[in-house]
Each structure stands twice: as structure tokens, then as C-alpha cells.
């Protein structure tokens, strides 16, 4: 995904999000075309159209309308069955793409100037004496608050630069943007994760499974994109533009959906 977005490094994030959404829509409609039985789908759709027309033409005959409606329902189930396979092919790239886009376009970078709080949850709360938090490319603000009851420590950070790292009691994890420019991952924390979780939560940096920290959380404001006077989440932008691209792709590549 990063390579895909590299041409947009210096563009606003919206440009990258828009490009990926449009590409995704077109690619998904092509996947749909090549993984589905287009002839069968075309036939079902024709039949469904005929049934609907039949109902309109025989409104004076309730029996005929009921029969046509029942047949239409059966055709609907047949249609759904026909699109199960292509949807399964689409689901995996959709989930992975959505996760990647969420990690890249779902959040703002750690705000400059305004402190934001990082909370670490520990397997066992470390001793206060000798406990240090340092940052590389990020400003760490004392004091560190120890919450014994919850086995947590909290501190503030601000002014993160791309690639910023935080080290607390020897545990290091990235925070904020992984790199500069559009499309870089913005880490909202860190967690112990298995490989599947890593794929689904790319906005979290991995922590060692046997390390002392269970998870690190930081609240980073959600990114919003201004379109037509409104402010929209990345998911809305993605769904709208990928759908528009898919509709256009279906017309261009003669895909029966």
C-alpha cells in the first residue's frame, strides 16, 4: 500500500485516499467480473426484470401477481447465491485495504503544541524509582502518573515528528506518523498481537508477547475530510468513491452486477 501511495507522498491525504478508493472500486468490479458466472447473473437479472414486469401487467389478477412475487423471491436467492463466490474473493482485499486505509487516513498526526496522553498497561506495574520515559522525535512531558489499581502509567507527549519513538522502562514503540507525507501509517498505540491481528490492526505497533507492557494507548483525533461543505470520515469517503468507481467500471467493462 505504501508503494501504491508513494506518488502521492507530497499531496494532501485526501488525494491518496481518493486514488485508492477509485482504484479499489475498479479493481473490485473486475474481480467480480472474473470470479462470477456473468452469463448466469445476466440470465437471473433478465428473469427478475421479466417477473417484475409480469406483476405490473397482471395487477388485475392477484393469483398471477402472487406467483410472480414468489418466483421473484426465488430468483433473488439464486442471485445472492451467484454473488457469494465473488464477494468472498472481494472480502479479503476489502478488509485488508480498509484496515490499511484506517491506519493511514483514519487519524490526524499527534497534534503539535497540544499535549496528548499516552497510557501504558503493564503486566506488573514497574517500580516508580528509576522509571523513565524518553522520546525520540517526540517531546515527553513529565510527570508520569502511576495508577496502581489499573496497573497503568500515563504521561503526555507532543510535537511528534515522523518516525517518533517512545521508550518507557526499556520498552520502545512508535507513536504518530511512521513516515512523512501522505499515506504513512499513524500509530495510535501498541499492543501484543498475533499475525492476524497485526494484519487487521496496522494502526497499532506490535509489542513483544512476553514483554512487560500489555498495551499502549494514545488518543489521536480522528481525521475528517471536507467535501461539499461537510466533514466526512475516511470510511465514508472510501465507500462513496469506490462505489462510484465500481459503477463506472461496471459500465465500462460491461460487468453484470
Amino acid at each position: 500500500m505504501t508503494a501504491l501511495l508513494s506518488p502521492f507522498r507530497n499531496c494532501p491525504p485526501f488525494t491518496g485516499l481518493l486514488t485508492v478508493s477509485l482504484l479499489f472500486g475498479v479493481i473490485m468490479i473486475l474481480i467480480f467480473k472474473f470470479t462470477s458466472n456473468q452469463r448466469a447473473i445476466g440470465a437471473i437479472r433478465s428473469r427478475m426484470g421479466a417477473r417484475a414486469l409480469g406483476m405490473l401487467l397482471h395487477l388485475h389478477s392477484p393469483i398471477t401477481v402472487i406467483k410472480a412475487a414468489a418466483a421473484l423471491m426465488a430468483d433473488n436467492f439464486a442471485y445472492l447465491w451467484r454473488i457469494v463466490t465473488p464477494m468472498l474473493f472481494i472480502a479479503v482485499p476489502f478488509i485488508l485495504t480498509a484496515a490499511a486505509l484506517d491506519a493511514r487516513y483514519g487519524s490526524m498526526p499527534v497534534p503539535r503544541g497540544v499535549p496528548t496522553t499516552v497510557t501504558l498497561t503493564w503486566e506488573e506495574l514497574p517500580a516508580r524509582e528509576g522509571f523513565t520515559v524518553t522520546g525520540t522525535g517526540i517531546t515527553v512531558i513529565e510527570p508520569v502518573v502511576f495508577v496502581d489499581t489499573l496497573r497503568q502509567t500515563s504521561f503526555r507527549v507532543r510535537n511528534a515528528t515522523p518516525g517518533a519513538m517512545v521508550t518507557a522502562a526499556g520498552v520502545t514503540f512508535p507513536l504518530g506518523a511512521s513516515a512523512g507525507g501522505s499515506g504513512s501509517v499513524i500509530y495510535r498505540g501498541a499492543a501484543r498481537m498475533n499475525p492476524v491481528e497485526r494484519l487487521l490492526k496496522p494502526f497499532l505497533a506490535p509489542l513483544p508477547p512476553d514483554g512487560p507492557v500489555i498495551e499502549a494507548n494514545v488518543f489521536i483525533p480522528e481525521a475528517r475530510y471536507r467535501i461539499l461543505g461537510g466533514r466526512w470520515s475516511w470510511l465514508t469517503v472510501f465507500l462513496v468513491y469506490s462505489s462510484l468507481a465500481a459503477i463506472a467500471g461496471a459500465a465500462a467493462f460491461k460487468v453484470k452486477v
Binding site: V114, P115, T116, T117, T119, R128, I141, E142, P143, V144, V145, F146, V147, D148, T149, L150, S154, F155, R156, N217, F219, G229
Partner: protein, 642 residues
């Protein structure tokens, strides 16, 4: 050009503009006016601090144009004065006579500038009360604003933090952000919350805020219930609440505040960033959003945690604070969340001892710095027409710190050394904003820096009601209730006049007030006698007259049909005096004139000629202008009339 000719031409320019708008014409202009309003900027102090080198930009500006005293309104209260600026008229035109008006039918006071009207029809579903029609917030200021003809002629107008402008106008082509008069989310003019486990801090006093007792149940966690607005969508309008968990770390001298899934670390003596509060009115459908800032005053041995009044969230405003709606949000996107309530400096917290001078100063500095960021943003996005920008800090900080420059203040000797020069620093900071504005000066841009009034010391409080009682104008029937508000001790059948608000005196008029005893024929002679008596009062301690002049309102507006809520007399106090705190709310304490020991040590509710405002302009202006002329002066500068 003398003042008379200047005003004639100004009026002619305004009339031409109105005519042009009426004929459907559109006047295009490339001229720009930057109107920079500093509430309470005193011309005497401007001269003093300019001479001392603390205001180099103001000095440069007055050398380019002029510095003039700007006549203020009567009474010289900000709502009255700014309403005059907006409409070009006096209280007879805009209907604002005081901060507080009273309903003559029951003498209950209310805020003079705006009110919330309940819906006229609702759909009741179970406990739900869904509004169908009517309701909303109403601006009580009357009269036509000076910017309407400008907008009708295609001249862009941006008014940021304009006082007495809530709810914000929706005039097409204009951009408005409400200032003074904008309430907090609870509907008050600013109500802080103070959480503490120190029983000694608890009190029944609710002025300016509430003190909430909390306790640690042994897990170092205080569960602090934050009171939000009333839920008008539910029967009985219960108060909505949010709970903040405050985790105390007494070793680190800091707390972590958890609220709505977010956490904030705050050390002792530190402020949190803006924290967002959500109060669901109907779960999943309607939520009221607010913002506030925590200040950890102390953690050991006792928790003392201050929460600012909850401001309307500019990104999700629950009430109409801007016109168009997106304007408040666009500012928040540029500079972050900001104080939206009309009086952002929490003077009540200092007056009640929740803050000390250091705490208050840090809060006031936050406000001023935030407003300067907003100003920088406004300058950067201003392209054409009129930009009006308002600063409250000069007013409220002078109220609280006038004692630092006034040796006669009862609190002068107790001012800490670090605050001795605070007034000079305040004016110097205002001067930096003037310098920033001057960078935009070109041949087509006019800069006008002005204020609604000046300032005077407030060392002695004049108990107008107590004096009325002592002189037989009011009869105290229950002496034990003298200190209770709202005339609790008064026998109305033997009372001919009463005071309410900061400068207002009312006759207990038959047919207007309940149990009124003064007939219409008796009213004017009574007012004449009251004026004579008030002006002859002598303060036994100082030998000075507390009342400079008592104005009979009927004489101020001859032939005008004034509304029933208008006062009958405006008491213009002498410098050093003001109505006592008790008088403002209708109490009758025994002593008539007392020392003012409140940190609120400067004021402007004196006779108007004693506290004119300032007018510093990049072009020379004639002497004798008044604040209510400024709308027409701005119009003339924009239209380019010679």
C-alpha cells in the same frame, strides 16, 4: 472638519448607502476597515503607557491619525454601549438599559440581552417531550445593525466576538461569531465546578459556580460528576451529567482524568487541554456537546480540582453561536477549541477565593493568548470589507487588577510584587495586537482601535437600597432579612423606590409594580427629589460625593415611549464608587457605604463623562465622537465618502 460636519457627512454616507441598498443597487468597494475593539481600553492609561514606552504601536498609530476620547453610553455598561455601537442609537432604540432588567410585574431580574423561549407545542411520547414549533433563543436587542446596508451593498462583513450578538445573526454575506452575552452550556453567564474533598471549602454560595464534594474510596480515584445542561426533551427537564474518573498520584503530584474513553494528565498548577463533554439527550439521536478545561490547584493533602464553565463546543454548537453555522467550526479547525462563552475570564472564581491571583492570571493568560491566535487567524483569512475583532481581556483583567495601580484601593497593599506591573503588561499585550493589525495597513485599509468605555477605581460600594431605606424612600419591615436578595425585607406598601442592577433605580409605581404606591403625577417630583438627595450624599470616610450625577431617564429621552422594564433613574457614580454588590441583587444591608474588598477593584459603572472610551485611528478623527457614531464612521470609511 469639526465634529458636527464630520457627523453630518457620516450620516449622509450611511443614508446614501441605505438608499442604494433600497434601490437594489450593489456598491463595490476595495476599501477595507479593520475595527479592533478592546473592551474597557482607557484613554488615560493608553496615554500613560504610551508615554512610558509600553505601547509603541499605539503611539505610532496615533501619530499617523489620532487618539481621541470616545464618549460612552449612559450607563457606561458594556451591553448598553455595544448595543449603541451596533444600532447607532441609545437605549431608547436598542432597548438595553442595564446588564439586568426586571419584570415590573414581579420585580424578578433577568439578563437584558437574550432569553430562551420554551417550545409552544410539543409531541409527548412517554417521558419524551419533542418540540414541534416555537422555542429557541431570542436576542432582546432591538434596532437595525449598521452592517445591514453594507451587506445589502455587497460589502463583506466579518464580526468576531461581537458583544450583544447572541444568538448570532444570519445576515446573508456576513460572518458572525457571538461574544459577550453568549452563555455557557448550562445557560448561565459562566458557572465553574470545583471538586474538593476539603470540607472547609464547601459552601452554599452558588454565585459564579458550584463546589462539589468528592471522596477517594481508597483506590486513589475520585468520581467527579459534572453537571451539564437540563434535558428539555425529557419531562421535568432533568439535569444531564457526565462522570469523570480522577486518578490521583500524590507522589507525582498529578492526576489522570478519564472521561468518555479519553485520558488527560494534569499536574498541580497545570491546565488540561480542552476536554470534550457529551451529554446524551436522547441516546443515539441527540447529544449536547460542550468543552471545558480542568485546573489542578492542589492534590496533597486535599484535592482541589477546578473545572471551567462548560463552553458550547464550537465544532458541534448546541446553540447558534455563529452565522453561518460553519463559521464557528471553521475557526476551531484552524486554531483548535476555544472559549465560546461571553465572559471567558473567570472573575467569579477569584472573587470567591477558588482562585488566587496566580490561578486567575494563568487562566486569563490562556484566554488572551487563545484570542490572539484567533486574531492572527482572522487577519490571515480577511480579504475584503469590514473585519471587527473584539478582545474581552482588557476589560475583565482591569476589573480584577485595578487595585495594583490604585494606591487608594483597600487591597492595594496586599498585591504581590509580581503583579505590580500587571496593568502595564496588559496594555503592552494589547499593543502587540495593534502592531499586528498595523502590518496590514496600506492605502486602502483603515485601522480603528476603540473601546466601549474607560475605567475607574472601585474602592467604596454605595448601597443604594440601604440609602433608600435610611432616607425613608424604602421601608425595611424585616431587619433580619436585610442581607437576603430580592427585597426579602421590604414592605412594598411603604416603599417608593428601589435599586436593582448596577446603575438602575426604579420607582414603585402604582399600576406597574405589584403593591406600587407612587402615582404617575407623583413620579417626576419624586425623581427630582431623589436626584437632589443622591447628589448631595457625602461619604463620611472620605468626605467625597459618591454620586456624581443622577439622571432621570424621562429627561434623557424626552417624548419617547419607553418600555416598562426601563429604569426610572440612572445613578452615575463618582470615580472610586459604584453600587454595592448587595444593591445589584436587591439586598438592604445596614451600612450604606462600605469598602470594596473584592478583587474586582476597577469598574466603569460611573457617570459616563468620567470614563470615556478610547479611539485610536490611522486617519485623523475629530473630537467629540461617541461609540454609537462608530458604525456610521466605519460605513463612511468603507464607502469612501470624502
Amino acid at each position: 472638519m469639526n465634529r458636527r460636519e464630520f457627523l453630518k457627512r457620516t450620516a449622509a454616507a450611511s443614508a446614501l448607502l441605505a438608499l442604494s441598498a433600497g434601490c437594489g443597487g450593489v456598491l463595490r468597494t476595495r476599501r477595507k476597515v479593520l475595527a479592533l475593539a478592546f473592551d474597557g481600553l482607557d484613554p488615560g492609561l493608553v496615554r500613560r503607557y504610551s508615554a512610558l514606552g509600553l505601547m509603541p504601536n499605539a503611539k505610532r498609530l496615533m501619530q499617523m491619525g489620532s487618539l481621541r476620547n470616545l464618549a460612552t453610553s449612559n450607563p457606561p455598561q458594556s451591553p448598553v454601549a455595544w448595543s449603541g455601537f451596533i444600532t447607532g442609537g441609545g437605549p431608547d432604540v436598542h432597548g438595553i438599559f442595564d446588564f439586568i432588567h426586571r419584570n415590573p410585574a414581579d420585580r424578578v431580574p433577568y439578563l437584558s440581552t437574550s432569553r430562551v423561549n420554551p417550545p409552544t407545542r410539543t409531541l409527548d411520547v412517554g417521558d419524551l417531550r419533542l418540540p414541534l414549533s416555537g422555542g429557541g433563543v431570542e436576542l432582546l436587542r432591538k434596532g437595525e445593525p449598521f452592517w445591514k446596508p453594507l451587506l445589502q451593498n455587497g460589502i463583506p462583513v466579518t464580526m468576531i466576538k461581537l458583544p450583544i450578538d447572541f444568538p448570532a445573526p444570519r445576515d446573508r454575506g456576513g460572518r458572525f461569531l457571538s461574544g459577550m452575552g453568549t452563555p455557557d452550556i448550562r445557560g448561565s453567564q459562566g458557572s465553574f465546578t470545583f471538586f474538593t474533598d476539603d470540607a472547609r471549602s464547601l459552601s452554599d454560595d452558588t454565585s459564579g459556580g458550584i463546589i462539589v464534594p468528592v471522596r477517594d474510596n481508597g483506590d486513589n480515584c475520585y468520581r467527579c460528576r459534572v453537571t451539564g445542561p437540563q434535558n428539555s426533551l425529557i419531562e421535568g427537564a432533568p439535569v444531564m451529567e457526565a462522570t469523570a474518573e480522577v486518578w490521583a498520584d500524590r507522589t507525582a503530584e498529578a492526576v489522570r482524568i478519564d472521561l468518555h474513553g479519553r485520558s488527560f494528565v494534569v499536574g498541580v498548577g497545570q491546565w488540561s487541554p480542552w476536554v470534550r463533554f457529551s451529554f446524551p439527550a436522547i441516546a443515539g439521536i441527540s447529544t449536547v456537546h460542550a468543552i471545558g478545561r480542568f485546573y489542578l490547584k492542589e492534590l496533597s493533602p486535599k484535592l482541589r480540582l477546578y473545572l471551567s464553565p462548560l463552553n458550547i463546543d464550537p465544532e458541534n454548537p448546541a446553540l447558534p453561536i455563529s452565522g453561518p453555522d460553519w463559521f464557528a467550526r471553521s475557526i476551531a479547525e484552524a486554531i483548535g477549541p476555544y472559549y465560546t462563552k461571553g465572559f471567558p475570564e473567570d472573575t467569579k472564581a477569584l472573587s470567591r477565593g477558588i482562585f488566587n491571583d496566580d490561578d486567575y492570571f494563568s487562566q486569563a493568560t490562556n484566554v488572551f493568548d487563545e484570542r490572539l491566535r484567533m486574531f492572527t487567524h482572522a487577519l490571515g483569512s480577511w480579504k475584503d470589507g469590514l473585519l471587527f475583532f473584539y478582545f474581552s481581556s482588557t476589560d475583565l483583567n482591569q476589573h480584577m487588577f485595578y487595585r495594583t495601580i490604585d494606591p487608594e484601593s483597600p487591597l492595594h497593599s496586599s498585591v504581590a510584587p509580581r503583579f505590580r506591573n500587571i496593568m502595564g503588561e496588559l496594555y503592552a499585550k494589547a499593543d502587540r495586537a495593534i502592531g499586528q493589525a498595523m502590518e496590514l495597513l496600506d492605502g486602502n485599509t483603515e485601522l480603528m482601535v476603540f473601546s466601549d468605555h474607560g475605567f475607574a477605581p472601585f474602592n467604596r460600594g454605595f448601597g443604594l437600597n440601604s440609602w433608600l431605606g435610611a432616607e425613608g424612600y424604602a421601608h425595611v419591615a424585616r431587619p433580619e432579612d436585610r442581607n437576603r436578595d430580592m427585597f426579602a425585607c421590604i414592605d412594598w406598601s411603604r416603599t417608593s423606590a428601589y435599586g436593582l442592577g448596577l446603575n438602575s433605580l426604579y420607582v414603585n409605581q402604582a399600576g406597574r409594580e405589584p403593591d406600587g404606591i407612587i402615582t404617575t403625577a407623583e413620579k417626576y417630583p419624586l425623581l427630582e427629589r431623589l436626584a437632589r438627595d443622591l447628589e448631595s450624599v457625602i461619604d463620611p470616610l472620605t468626605g467625597r460625593r459618591p454620586v456624581e450625577k443622577a439622571y432621570i431617564v424621562a429627561d434623557m429621552f424626552p417624548g419617547k415611549d419607553l418600555p416598562p422594564f426601563a429604569p426610572d433613574m440612572i445613578v452615575g457614580y463618582a470615580r472610586g464608587y459604584r453600587s454595592s454588590w448587595e444593591t445589584a441583587l436587591g439586598a438592604f444591608p445596614e451600612e450604606v457605604i462600605t469598602d470594596n474588598t473584592d478583587p474586582w477593584s476597577g469598574d466603569h459603572c460611573v457617570a459616563p463623562m468620567l470614563c470615556p472610551g478610547s479611539l485610536i485611528t490611522s486617519s485623523p478623527m475629530p473630537e467629540g465622537l461617541a461609540l454609537q457614531d462608530m458604525g456610521a464612521v466605519i460605513t463612511r470609511a468603507l464607502t469612501g465618502d470624502p
